[in-house]
Each structure stands twice: as structure tokens, then as C-alpha cells.
């Protein structure tokens, strides 16, 4: 097949993002024009990028272009292989939805905020994302990585008049730079060994690394990519930064930007380094388990709708890392087939999470757009004024909870199956970890379902809890279309999973030398299996049909009954006390009370109740209730670190005398000493 069309289409999508960036910046005085340019350029870029991704995946073999830059070690090298194509596909699907959504969403910015500048940052982010997925030169990758961090910083702090937003932005930019620093050192190790910054040259170099260097490279890359992905304990920036951004940006941040960390791990650990030692795979698996369980537990305690979703991103990154860690372990242990299934599970969950998390953030954005609050305790009853948003959010919630027959179920099921298979395949004591990780995954799924029962019920059901959720309106049509597109994708990838799985063949063949798509599908393309003789099988399609069989007769009965007897509306069950009001409802805090008690070792909840009495203690006039959970990581890990840095810096201040002469003298003395040192040799 000719490589030209793929290259052309990819270049065109890059050009669309570049044009979008500068054209919307140029029109910043005309908000309507800027909004239209920003959204349509993003849509065009996504469409072209999606075409390129499909071509790249179908092609199977990598395509590479390189333009020398004249600067040593640096070249504009791109390589479009199956892995790059897959992440570009996830990017395209998400961006398509977000850009349609933004047509309506950004309307609220007109006249209030600079849409031109927003568009500039937004397109810069998209551009850096697509380039970092395709870059084949370490420096090009790092430049894209850095542009991505800065553009994301600009978008996170878009509501910069808020103190909380600025703090979150600062935290984000600090963590992003620690992560770039780690990557820079990691790449320096590889470049030093290979003498070239091209990714292709790292294959040979990785073999020559000593085991200490290999360990250092793994740790640096894992830190760098782990911070970007938001794994625990490097997650603290994520629940701070994602909620404060505009909601369409939050969708991109949680949907795609944190996935660059996953992409980097797959690219470096599986492709460039050609596998990592067994303990490294175990570390990835354990970090994945910890992130998944703690992520969902912290999410349960959140009453801020967007923060809740942000914590779920940590949970899902954990699930992805479980699959990736298992793939790394299986690869070293000599089970390429299992490794390929685990990789498929991880990558499928990456795509699925990109889809349903952006769907949920867009839904939360619609709610925020209509009610003006992120606090769930002020919401309620939104399903009546906003039925479409509620439906889309519900689909997203079912998908993220890993319930059949949607896409989240398929990838979590595959992860689960590979973890269970690990017990039989791996020898030694560490094999106990696999069923343990599997049970933790099951726990995570159950807790996630509980959390989304809370999120959906408190937000959309019952009566409005606050003035802000009365008299609200459904979101504009473009926003609904954006969400609807992702809703469809959730259903399609769940029901059609058996047809989608062969997409991963090219990737697993390139990285692990195995094609497993055919093994995963049995029963005339309707039944999923995990590829092992002993593994279970499941068919989302049959489950869906079963659900329909259960639901249809009931619906039929209701329809017939309504026609024959008419419909009467009565009060809900009110315990004989007529006139139930919003005060009688469950609150989000109350709903999560049970879990707060069960996991109190972890949460260390603190609560304070103050009653104000008038006459008798039996009739309190006011009751103040305050409840908060212990921010363990911030308090025990980051606060001591911060204190150390402050103390160290105040020591260092004594040499910062503020005198130019002193500074010049420092440089001068250093220079003379170095010269003398050089001469001495």
C-alpha cells in the first residue's frame, strides 16, 4: 500500500489544528467567529486524524517520515504505527465529540471571556497530543510533551480569577515539570547509550544498558509517565486541576491527556526497552491496584461532581495499569500470548475510558452549564428538565461501572480474565498477587457502581435540593449531539466488541509478536473469550438481547395497561406523612455514610456537630454539621516534602544576596577555578 495518503491526511489534520490555533487567536475580537473557527477546525482535525488513524491501523506495518533539522540529535521524525494509530483514534473520537459540544458550550463565553485565546490553547493542546503520539524522536516528543503541559496549564487556569483555580494550576504546572524532568533524564540515559535520539535506535541501545542503568531508566520513565497519568501517589494534581478547567477541557484532560502517560509506558517499556524486568512489571501491577482501589474510595467521598469524576480517572488509570503490568510480567515470564491478551485489555480500557470519561465530563459540564454549581448537594431532580443529558450521563455511568453490555464491561472483564490466568501461568510466590489483584478489581468495580448510583441519583433523581437546580433548562442541541456521539460509541464498542478486537492485532504483533484477535472471539463472532482453554466466555450481545427479553414484556404490559385503564399519577410512598420535601431526601453525604464507616481506617473521618438550643435540648434551633476526611497523601507525603524544600530554600537564600556584583563574582570565581582545573590536567 502506498504511504502517501496516510502521510498526507495526518499532515492535513496537524495543519487543521495549527490553522485553528492561529485563526481563532487572530479573531479574538470577534467572539462568534472565533468560536466557530475554533470548533469547526477541531472537528476537521479530528475527522482527518480519525481517517489517518484508521488507515494506520489497517496498514499494519509502521510508516515513518523524517525531516532533518540541522540541529544535532534533533529531527522532525514521525512514525505512524499501530500503537500511534490507536491512540490517535481515541484522540479523534474524543475530540470530535468535544468540538461539537463546544459549539454550544463556548457560547456562554461570548462577551465574557477571550474565546480566541481559548481556541489557541485548545488547538495547541490537540496539536501537541497528536504529535506526541506520533513523534519518533526523543526531543520532538519532549517538545510536544512540554507544549501539551503548558497549553493544559493555560486551559486549567482559564477561570483564573478564582483563587482555587490558580492554586490548582500551580500544582499542575509543578507536577508537570517534575514529570518532564524525569523523562528528560530517562531519555538522556537512552540517548547516551545509543548515540541517537531516534526511538528506533533505542531498541539496540536498551540491550547494552547495565542492569543499574536499566533500573534507573525504568524508574525515571515510570515516574515521568506515572505523574502524567495521575497514578497514586503522584495523583494530587489531578483532582485539583481537572475540575476547575472549563468542562469541555476537563473531558479532554481526563479522556486523553492523562492517557499520554499510558502511551509513553507502552511505547518505552514494550517497544523501546523491549520489556522490563519482572519486578518492574509487578510494581506497575501493584501501583495499578492501589490507584484503582484508592481512586474509587476517594471518589465515593466527593460531593463535587467534577472532582468525583476526576478521582474516577485515577481509578481507571489503575485498571489500565493492572492490564499493562500483567502484560509486562507475562512477557518476561515467556507467555507472549497472555501478554498480548493483557495488552489488549489495557489498551481497550484506555480507549473505553477516553470515551465514557469524556462523556461523563461533558454531562457534568451540561449540568454545570444549566445549574451553575458543581456541588451535588444542591442538585436533584434534573432528569425532568434535562432528560437527554440525564440519559447520556446514565449510559456513561453504566459503562464506567463496568456493567454489561457496554464497553467498560468488556475491557474490565478481559483484564479480570488475564489476572486470573496469571495465577496458573506464573510460578513462585508472586503468583498469589494475581488473584489478589483480580479480587481488588472486582471490589473496584462494585465500589464504582455504588459511586455512580450516588452520582446519578443525587444529581438527576428526586426533588431539587437547592434553588440553583430549579427552573433549569436542557443544554443546547450541539452539546447534546456531542454527548450522543459518545453514548453511541459506548454502546457500539460494548455490543460490537467482538468485531472491534481484531483492531488490536497489528499492535500486539508489533509489540509482542502475537495476533490474538481471532482467539478472543468464538461462537460465530458473537462470544468473547479470553483466549485460554480454561477461561470464561461472555457475550455482550446475548446479554443485551436477554435484557431486552426481560424488559420488553414489562414495557408491553405497561403500554397495554395504560391504554386500557388510563394513567393516574399518585404521591410516592411517604410513610403516611403527606408533603415530602427536598429536606427528606438522602444527601450525597448520607448515601456514602456506610462506606465511610467501613473504610474509616483509611478515611480517618472527622466530624463536628454543633447544636444551638433555645429552650430545651430536645428542640435544637440549629444544627451545624461538618464532616471531612483525612487527606492522607497531602498530609503525610507532600506536606513534609514541602516543608523540607522550604527549609532548604531559606538556607540557600543567604547566598542570594541580591547584589549583582556578588552574582557576577560567583560566576567569575567559578570560571577561573574551572579554567585552573582544566589546565591542571
Amino acid at each position: 500500500m502506498n504511504t502517501l495518503p496516510l502521510g498526507m491526511i495526518f499532515a492535513l489534520s496537524v495543519a487543521a489544528y495549527l490553522t485553528g490555533a492561529f485563526a481563532s487567536l487572530a479573531c479574538w475580537r470577534k467572539p462568534v467567529v472565533a468560536r466557530r473557527i475554533c470548533c469547526s477546525a477541531a472537528l476537521a482535525g479530528a475527522a482527518l486524524g480519525g481517517c489517518a488513524a484508521v488507515l494506520g491501523i489497517l496498514r499494519g506495518t509502521p510508516v515513518a517520515w523524517s525531516v532533518p533539522s540541522g540541529i544535532p540529535l534533533f529531527a522532525y521524525s514521525f512514525s505512524y504505527d499501530a500503537l500511534a494509530g490507536f491512540f490517535n483514534l481515541a484522540l479523534a473520537i474524543t475530540v470530535a465529540a468535544v468540538s461539537i459540544y463546544s459549539f454550544g458550550y463556548l457560547k456562554a463565553f461570548e462577551g465574557k471571556r477571550n474565546i480566541g485565546f481559548f481556541g489557541f490553547l485548545f488547538h495547541l493542546l490537540l496539536l501537541s497530543l497528536t504529535i506526541s503520539f506520533t513523534a519518533a524522536n526523543a526531543f520532538l516528543f519532549l517538545i510536544a510533551w512540554e507544549v501539551m503541559a503548558l497549553a493544559a496549564y493555560g486551559l486549567v487556569t482559564f477561570y483564573h480569577e478564582d483563587r482555587e483555580t490558580r492554586r490548582a494550576g500551580l500544582l499542575y504546572v509543578i507536577m508537570a515539570h517534575i514529570d518532564t524532568g524525569c523523562l528528560l533524564l530517562g531519555f538522556a540515559l537512552l540517548i547516551n547509550a545509543s548515540g541517537s535520539a531516534e526511538f528506533a535506535s533505542f531498541h539496540k541501545a536498551a540491550v547494552q544498558l547495565s542492569s543499574a542503568q536499566q533500573t534507573a531508566a525504568f524508574v525515571l520513565f515510570f515516574l515521568g509517565f506515572g505523574i502524567k497519568a495521575g497514578v497514586i501517589p503522584f495523583h494530587i494534581w489531578l483532582p485539583a486541576a481537572h475540575p476547575v478547567a472549563p468542562s469541555n477541557v476537563s473531558a479532554l484532560l481526563s479522556g486523553i491527556v492523562i492517557k499520554t502517560g499510558i502511551y509513553g509506558m507502552a511505547r518505552i517499556f514494550l517497544d523501546s526497552l523491549g520489556g522490563v524486568p519482572s519486578w518492574a512489571g509487578l510494581l506497575v501491577l501493584i501501583v495499578g491496584v492501589v490507584s484503582a482501589v484508592l481512586g474509587v474510595l476517594y471518589a465515593l467521598m466527593e460531593h463535587d461532581l467534577k472532582r468525583l469524576l476526576a478521582y474516577h480517572s485515577i481509578e481507571n488509570i489503575g485498571i489500565i495499569l493492572m492490564g499493562l503490568g500483567a502484560a509486562l510480567i507475562f512477557r518476561v515470564a515467556g507467555h507472549p500470548m497472555l501478554a498480548a491478551v493483557a495488552l489488549v485489555a489495557a489498551m481497550f480500557h484506555t480507549l473505553n475510558h477516553a470515551i465514557f470519561k469524556s462523556l461523563l465530563f461533558l454531562g457534568a459540564g451540561s449540568v454545570l452549564h444549566s445549574t451553575g454549581t458543581r456541588n451535588m448537594e444542591e442538585m436533584g431532580g434534573l432528569i425532568r428538565p434535562m432528560p437527554v443529558t440525564a440519559f447520556c450521563f446514565l449510559i456513561g455511568a453504566v459503562a464506567i461501572s463496568g456493567l454489561p453490555p457496554l464497553n467498560g464491561f468488556v475491557s474490565e472483564w478481559l483484564t479480570y480474565q488475564t489476572l486470573l490466568a496469571g495465577f496458573g501461568a506464573i510460578s513462585g510466590l508472586r503468583r498469589i498477587l494475581f488473584p489478589l489483584a483480580g479480587s481488588m478489581l472486582a471490589l473496584t468495580g462494585a465500589l464504582a457502581a455504588a459511586c455512580f448510583v450516588k452520582a446519578f441519583a443525587i444529581t438527576f433523581l428526586a426533588l431539587p435540593r437547592g434553588a440553583k437546580s430549579r427552573n433549569v433548562q436542557e443544554a443546547p442541541r450541539t452539546m447534546l449531539i456531542g454527548m450522543g456521539w459518545l453514548t453511541l460509541a459506548c454502546a457500539a464498542l460494548g455490543l460490537g466488541a467482538t468485531w472491534f478486537l481484531p483492531v488490536f492485532d497489528a499492535m500486539t504483533e508489533q509489540l509482542l509478536g502475537q495476533r490474538v484477535g481471532a482467539h478472543l472471539v468464538t461462537g460465530h463472532g458473537l462470544v468473547l473469550s479470553a483466549g485460554m482453554r480454561t477461561s470464561g466466555t461472555v457475550s455482550p450481545m446475548v446479554i443485551a438481547v436477554g435484557l431486552l427479553v426481560l424488559v420488553l414484556p414489562a414495557a408491553l404490559l405497561v403500554a397495554i395497561g395504560t391504554r386500557r385503564f388510563g394513567r393516574t399519577r399518585g404521591p410516592v410512598w411517604d410513610c403516611g406523612l403527606p408533603g415530602l420535601s427536598a429536606e427528606n431526601e438522602y444527601t450525597a453525604t448520607a448515601f456514602s455514610k456506610a462506606l465511610r464507616m467501613i473504610f474509616s481506617v483509611l478515611y480517618k473521618p472527622r466530624r463536628e456537630i454543633q447544636a444551638v438550643f433555645d429552650v430545651s435540648p430536645y428542640f435544637p434551633k440549629e444544627i451545624h454539621f461538618e464532616s471531612e476526611i483525612d487527606p492522607t497523601f497531602e498530609k503525610r507525603l507532600y506536606a513534609p516534602l514541602q516543608e523540607f524544600i522550604f527549609r532548604f530554600s531559606s538556607r540557600m537564600r543567604t547566598i542570594q544576596a541580591g547584589s549583582i556584583h556578588a552574582y557576577l563574582a560567583y560566576i567569575f570565581v567559578t570560571l577561573v577555578l574551572l579554567l585552573l582545573f582544566g589546565v591542571r590536567k
Binding site: A657, H661, L664, A665, F668, V672, G678
Partner: protein
């Protein structure tokens, strides 16, 4: 008939001029008047341009002529002009007492020149140098000395403007080192460096002017106040 210049003659001329440049540099260390410092700098830069031209002639590297012309035009013409106008606008003509007094400063400059020779010696391998490279030997020592003394002037002087002069003569040292070691860098690089120097002087000029306005003085020791 093709004329081949005698490299020995070129070497002598260059050594002589480099020595003059060094003397001028040490003269800056002892000089108190700002205007005369600027003029010394102008003469020094002119000599540098001349050295570049001589190297271009004896090595038949025609593109160095352009560099020579540029250095004469920019550093002996334009920059001193700009700095003189700045002096007139601020109205400060004399440098106050430097941090280290003049005799000691000149002694230190002598020491730095010695260091320059010691360093240059370590680059000198007579057994493998051709006549062409021998040309650079003395000049490199002078260049390093120029660089170090220029730096020393920046550390030692209190006025922002004399510090700018120190920076410029330091840059002259760099130019001399580059031209004596490589017989001319690619023209693009030279152009880039000249442009940098020009921009740097513009910015520094504005900065000096602002410092003078804000603190009623050009004494950079007063910048200490900016510290919280």
C-alpha cells in the same frame, strides 16, 4: 601571477595588534572617565576588526572581511555612539571608586593575563601544529585574557554603564578567540552573534536608563533594595 602572502609576516602583525588590544583592555581597568572608557572600547574594537581583516587576507578567507567590516561598523561605530548618547542623557560622566582600588585591579589584570597564557599553553601542541595554526597561539592567550579582564571589570565596577562596557569587551575576547582558533566561523553564526550583541546593548541601555531614573543613580549596588 598568484600572490601568496607570507604567513610569518601575518603572524607578527597579528601578535602586535593583539598586544595593543590587551594594553587597551588593561587601560579600561584603570580608567575612571566613562566617555574615555567608551572611546577606548571603540579603538579596541577597531583593532579587532583590523585583526580580522589581516587574518582574512593571510588565510584568503574572503567571508571574514564581512565580519571585519561588521565589527568595525557596529562595535567601533554604532555601539559607542549609542552609549555616548546614553551618557549625555543620564549626565553621569565619572565612575565612582570601584570596589577594588585601581593599582590592585591592574595587578589582578596582570594575573588574569598570566592565567590566559597558562590556559592557552594547554591548547598548544607544537609538534602537530602547522604554520597556519601557530598564528593563533599568542592570540588565543590574549583572547582569554581579554575575556577574563572584561569579566573582572563587570564584577569590579559599580555603574551599570561600565558593566555594559565590561560585557562588550568580554565579547570582544570571545570574538578574538573564535577567529584565531577557527579562522572565521560560518558567516551565519557571526551575523547571529552581532545581532545578539546589538540587541543586548539596546536592552541594557534601556535598563541602565531605567535604573538611573528609578534610583537616581546608576549604582547597581542599590539594586539590593529590590530584595524583599
Amino acid at each position: 601571477m598568484h600572490f601568496v602572502p607570507n604567513p610569518e609576516l601575518g603572524n607578527r602583525i597579528i601578535t602586535l595588534m593583539a598586544a595593543l588590544v590587551l594594553v587597551l583592555q588593561i587601560a579600561t581597568v584603570g580608567q575612571r572617565g566613562i566617555l574615555s572608557s567608551i572611546r577606548i572600547f571603540a579603538v579596541q574594537s577597531f583593532l579587532l576588526g583590523a585583526i580580522a581583516a589581516v587574518i582574512a587576507y593571510f588565510n584568503q578567507a574572503s567571508h571574514i572581511y564581512i565580519a571585519a567590516l561588521l565589527i568595525v561598523f557596529l562595535k567601533a561605530g554604532l555601539l559607542p555612539r549609542l552609549l555616548e548618547r546614553l551618557v549625555e542623557r543620564i549626565g553621569i560622566r565619572r565612575e565612582i571608586e570601584p570596589l577594588i582600588n585601581v593599582p590592585l585591579s591592574i595587578l589582578i589584570s596582570g594575573g588574569l593575563t598570566l592565567l590566559g597564557y597558562v590556559v592557552a599553553e594547554s591548547f598548544y601542541h607544537p609538534e602537530e601544529t602547522s604554520a597556519r595554526a601557530a598564528l593563533g597561539h599568542n592570540t588565543l592567550a590574549v583572547a582569554i585574557a581579554l575575556f577574563l579582564i572584561g569579566f573582572f571589570v563587570m564584577v569590579n565596577r559599580r555603574k551599570a554603564l561600565t558593566q555594559v562596557l565590561g560585557l562588550l569587551s568580554l565579547e570582544n575576547g570571545l570574538f578574538l578567540a573564535a577567529i584565531s582558533l577557527t579562522y572565521g566561523m560560518p558567516l551565519m553564526v557571526e551575523l547571529g552573534i552581532f545581532f545578539d550583541v546589538l540587541v543586548a546593548v539596546m536592552i541594557l541601555g534601556i535598563l541602565v536608563f531605567r535604573i538611573g531614573e528609578t534610583f537616581d543613580s546608576m549604582d547597581v549596588s542599590k539594586l539590593r533594595k529590590l530584595r524583599e
